[in-house]
Subunit: 463 residues, 2 copies
């Protein structure tokens, strides 16, 4: 059915020896660096010491280092990667044929592991450094559940204790996600809980609450800071996470270079930015160094449009306001996104690094509505044989749009997108789409203003 099959295989798998030996830190090549995290009490940059009370020491070093371009990947992490990496770079021959486009479409598929997403790339690194520091365990929060699952797997492998605060509504509605974590030995607590002071306080004030990510973060941080030998870990937004996720882009670039492929457009979904940042890092590095040019597109839900409609300002990373201030595109830490099915994209802010790249005009952003995203997801599933996660399907939607534009113009562009994960635990969402009961929601300017009103005001942070 296809023409060039002999030249480029359906799936490019690197050899183990071709897998990256170092993480790439895109901040090193940025002339204007992302703004530092601030201590909300002093408005001064957070120090190694301050951050080390919450996070592992080596991870804090990675977080604060914006000049070192490459960090060696320890052998134990590389061995773990070999269990599920290299991930395939897939040529979407079937999709191209179906769309009748002259464009060449590729996707890097990160879903072929039990956590179901790219989150495992950073989970094992964070668990490794916690173990190196001699810690007993780590705490975290999880909403949709991918991050909690990934961290559970990494901790089981290394023999670390793993304590996950899972937003209560997800804990109850996604019992299977919870069971995967339990199978990997994690202690999963529905949040808010009676095991933390902040949880007790919230339950006293709102007895029937089903929880929120902000509350779960606060509980996980309290748990880590009040128990000897524990630290808190986070699956997105932070610079360290983008650093670890650079393995996605590094593998992609090696595979493409091997076959002489150069992408014109690189597309990824963006919630906190971990997948998009990881995918584009080495390509963005080339662009920053003036060695090559690429078009980068971040895709976000129209219901939670931090890049396309947010403000670029210092804001809290969590709704509980216990974390440092980060400069980022934000909808305000009090913004409550509608119940969009792409749980991984329901975050009010965006990675500081990606925010700065976007602000410098080095990256574009688009927002899409969820029913059209699921239409693209279903089409993709039937044609390419992979049931995609709702989050990933945002990138699919824009990749298809771009390929159809090529059909109109006749351009033979090479399109690359990140397929971050599978939708096996999102079938409630697919059911709602299959039944025709899925709806769209776009916040009004007034809705957004309420969120913006909560952004802290101080000299230099006017919005």
């Amino acid at each position: 059915m296809n023409k060039e099959i002999n030249k480029i295989p359906y799936k490019i798998y690197l050899e183990e020896s071709e897998m990256p030996a170092q993480y790439y830190n895109v901040r090193a090549d940025m002339k204007k660096k992302p703004a530092p995290l601030l201590n909300p009490a002093t408005l001064q940059p957070m120090t190694q010491e301050e951050l080390s009370a919450v996070f592992c020491e080596e991870l804090v070093r990675q977080e604060l280092d914006d000049t070192t371009a490459y960090f060696d990947i320890p052998q134990e992490i590389r061995d773990f990667y070999k269990m599920y990496r290299p991930s395939p770079l897939v040529r979407a021959y079937c999709l191209e044929e179906k769309l009748q486009t002259p464009a060449k479409i590729y996707y890097k598929f990160e879903g072929n592991n039990t956590s179901g997403s790219h989150k495992l790339n950073s989970a094992i690194a964070q668990a490794y450094y916690a173990k190196q520091q001699g810690l007993k365990g780590v705490t975290t929060e999880t909403g949709a559940g991918q991050w909690g699952t990934a961290l559970s797997m990494a901790c089981a492998y290394l023999g670390l204790d793993c304590r996950v605060y899972m937003v209560k509504v997800s804990y109850e509605q996604k019992p299977f996600r919870r069971e995967v974590m339990r199978t990997y030995g994690a202690n999963v607590t529905p949040s808010p809980s009676m095991t933390t002071e902040v949880g007790k306080k919230i339950l006293a004030e709102h007895p029937g609450t089903t929880g929120s990510l902000g509350c779960a973060i606060s509980e996980a941080v309290e748990d880590a800071t009040t128990h000897e030998g524990y630290r808190y870990v986070l699956g997105s937004v932070l610079n360290q996470v983008l650093l670890h996720q650079s393995v996605i882009g590094l593998e992609t670039k090696t595979a493409m270079d091997k076959y002489g492929i150069k992408p014109d457009v690189i597309i990824g979904c963006a919630g906190g930015g971990s997948n998009l940042g990881g995918l584009i890092s080495p390509f963005m590095g080339e662009k920053l160094r003036g060695e090559a040019d690429y078009q980068f597109i971040a895709v976000e839900p129209a219901s939670c449009p931090s890049l396309t409609r947010g403000k670029y300002a210092y804001d809290f990373c969590d709704t509980g306001m216990v974390c440092p201030l980060a400069k980022m595109y934000t909808l305000g830490s009090g913004f409550i996104p509608s119940a969009n099915h792409a749980g991984g994209l329901r975050y009010h802010g965006m990675s500081s690094t990606l925010s700065e790249l976007y602000d410098q005009g080095l990256m574009e952003a688009r927002s899409v509505e969820q029913t059209e995203v699921f239409k693209a997801a279903e089409e993709f599933a039937r044609i390419e044989g992979i049931l995609p996660a709702p989050e990933s399907s945002h990138a699919i939607k824009v990749a298809i749009d771009e390929a159809l534009k090529c059909k109109e113009t006749g351009e033979e562009k090479t399109i690359l997108f990140g397929l971050t994960g599978t939708g096996y635990f999102d079938l409630k969402a697919y059911e709602s789409f299959n039944n025709g009961t899925m709806t769209d929601y776009i916040p009004t300017d007034e809705d957004l203003q309420k969120g913006f009103d909560g952004i802290p005001q101080f000299p230099g942070n006017e919005i």
Copy 2:
């Protein structure tokens, strides 16, 4: 952490050009052939014409041909395989280290596709031949749901209508499986239903019934035979299915030959026999031709022990007794297995080909209890990073047993097992294991006798 990593990678992926171009038919190398299917009315072998009323013509030809060793795989099927194959042959370095065994353990992992199992290998072949024959669609039954999902994916790819009768209790208890099939455009009907005569009859007799595989088969066969342009397809037991599944063994053998690996023991779980038959076929061929020797072990649940405790006789393939008689190891078509969580292994009989090989002493069989299977599954998940299906975990259990024997004896055996699928849709079972509420059940001799009493009696079929 490991020694020989440089020699053998964690995962061996073949190149697309190394994927099999032909299916291998192990019956061609058997001196004593499997017994033919019999027409229950005449007790004469079923003819091409008789079988073609129910099955696609080319598939009937494959079913009846026990002399042709190789069948070309059509290009369109090979292109589809490239979307999710070659599947990795994994060296279980982490498991070996954990067990401290001198044994070398390999597994062929068939779960990295959206259907979650090896079933897709035969689904695409059967759908392809249906399409070639100019049919509108196919009908089938599904219990646990892997086969129905695989067939839905294959039909969506080829534009065929797909009508799945899903055992009512599974339809209600596994809504997510159902939604995957619907996302792939399949028409999924809970069985028994009011859309067939046999369904109406059963519902009139047993108004509250939650259905059975036997009933769903009867409905699917009636649907196919009463609608122009439809045929019935089946995901296991039949010779044609083992033929298609030979791609598992052929890829494994190519990968092993490439690295100079020769397995001593080959282990697979056995329900109807599709995975085990596919995995062992090319190795068994060598054994039959006297070119090499291997130990083969079929693993079945102690709750449904067709090989280890069944009778070798002609029996009905379905509880509704609408299908031809097959000679096989059987517990009787009326045997009702306990509610074991490995739905794919709850079948009263066994592939005729495997039954004959077992009867000739060319293959061994073992039965294991489900709590020890889940213990092995959880251990494997934590060590190797893959959450296995309950069915596949039967093979894991025996592979671990064999590796531990090597630890005692000091033998450096090479153990190969088939990891047929993932457990993402089996988390109710894991939940029961995690909660400590899982139980075991072994049928008594009296239980088995009731099943044996239903085996048809005729001259030459005494049990």
